[in-house]
């Protein structure tokens, strides 16, 4: 018996990194998973196969989450396949890092459109279904930098801080319908993104983390499972910091 048997989860940006780990962890607890991807179809199909190996069902659905029609098609595909959407994990995100003074308008717009507007559009698109069900969980993946700031990431930080505000407002608007909305703010997590960093940057990062190690995607995914499960039924509007104590 899993904690999420029979539930349906939509995970955006689930073909790689943290999103992939979230999809697999949800599946391990019995949830059926809609694996959203934007470009990497092959990777998404691999996640689908892995979910199926865990004994759950999955489909891969391509969608651009910054486009409302594309988002609607994603959610329609989920309903068509599984009949419900119980869990939405807004995970998809991109980076276009640059110093504020050098940041181009399109670098700003791209990141805000995917990382913040995308969360709004996906949330709006599942709300109808969840209101009818009188139940739902929305879990938004923010970031520690949304709370602390980070040089070179004005666009990303603004979006991730925006996600926390959006989480609180959505939580307030939908609480009466038993739709619980929470955020997770991961710290430094081992992914392709952090693997690419130079050693000296990594060691500086480690010196700021009380637990003195990088987190894993599974650390984040387990927090998602908690927020999606009955164990978190008295929590809404909160941000969980999964960062080895870096922010406290």
């Amino acid at each position: 018996m899993g904690k999420l048997d029979g539930k349906t989860a939509v995970v955006t940006g689930a073909s790689r990194g943290i999103g992939r780990a979230i999809a697999l962890q949800l599946a391990a607890e019995g949830a059926n998973v809609v694996v959203n991807f934007s470009g990497s179809e092959q990777k998404a199909n691999e996640v689908v196969t892995e979910v199926q190996n865990l004994g759950s069902q999955a489909i891969a659905v391509q969608a651009n989450i910054s486009d409302s029609e594309s988002v609607q098609q994603l959610m329609n595909a989920a309903i068509e396949q599984f009949g419900t959407i119980d869990i939405l994990v807004n995970n998809a995100g991109i980076t276009r890092d640059n110093l504020l003074m050098r940041m181009k308008e399109d670098e700003w717009d791209d990141v805000i459109n995917t990382n913040l507007k995308g969360v709004f559009l996906c949330t709006k698109a599942v709300t109808r279904q969840m209101m009818k069900q009188r139940a739902g969980r929305i879990i938004n993946i923010s970031s520690i930098v949304g709370v602390m700031g980070n040089a070179g990431q004005a666009n990303y930080v603004a979006a991730k801080a925006g996600v926390i505000g959006l989480t609180k407002t959505t939580a307030r608007e939908l609480a009466s319908r038993n739709i619980l909305v929470n955020a997770i703010a991961p710290g430094f997590i081992t992914t392709e993104m952090t693997d690419a960093l130079p050693e000296d940057v990594k060691s500086t990062m480690l010196s700021q983390i009380p637990l003195a190690k990088l987190g894993s995607s599974e650390d984040v995914a387990k927090a998602v499972v908690f927020l999606a499960s009955d164990d978190a039924s008295y929590m809404t509007g909160q941000t969980l910091h999964i960062d080895g104590g870096m922010y406290m």
């Binding site: 009818k132 608007e173 939908l174 009466s176």
Partner: protein, 78 residues
């Protein structure tokens, strides 16, 4: 076949938990029937299902009373 008024009344009674006698044509969902803004959104969703139609956000914003709902639906169906 139930009339539009009867079908709308049933949806309103089910959704808002009010007495059938309170659902008059001139009754405002928010002021007379105790609906909050989210209730009105849900009411419109249920009317869409009941009458198998789509009500755009712009149109939905204009539906404030039971009579508004009925005339909107009758205008679309006929």
């Amino acid at each position: 076949m139930a009339t539009v008024l009867e079908r709308v009344t049933k949806v309103v009674v089910d959704r808002l938990g009010v007495d059938e006698s309170e659902v008059k044509v001139e009754a405002s969902f928010r002021e007379d029937l105790g609906a909050d803004s989210l209730d009105v959104v849900e009411l419109v969703m249920e009317l869409e299902d009941e009458f198998d139609m789509e009500i755009s956000d712009e149109d939905a914003e204009k539906i404030a009373t039971v009579g508004d709902a009925i005339s909107y639906i009758e205008g679309k169906v006929s």
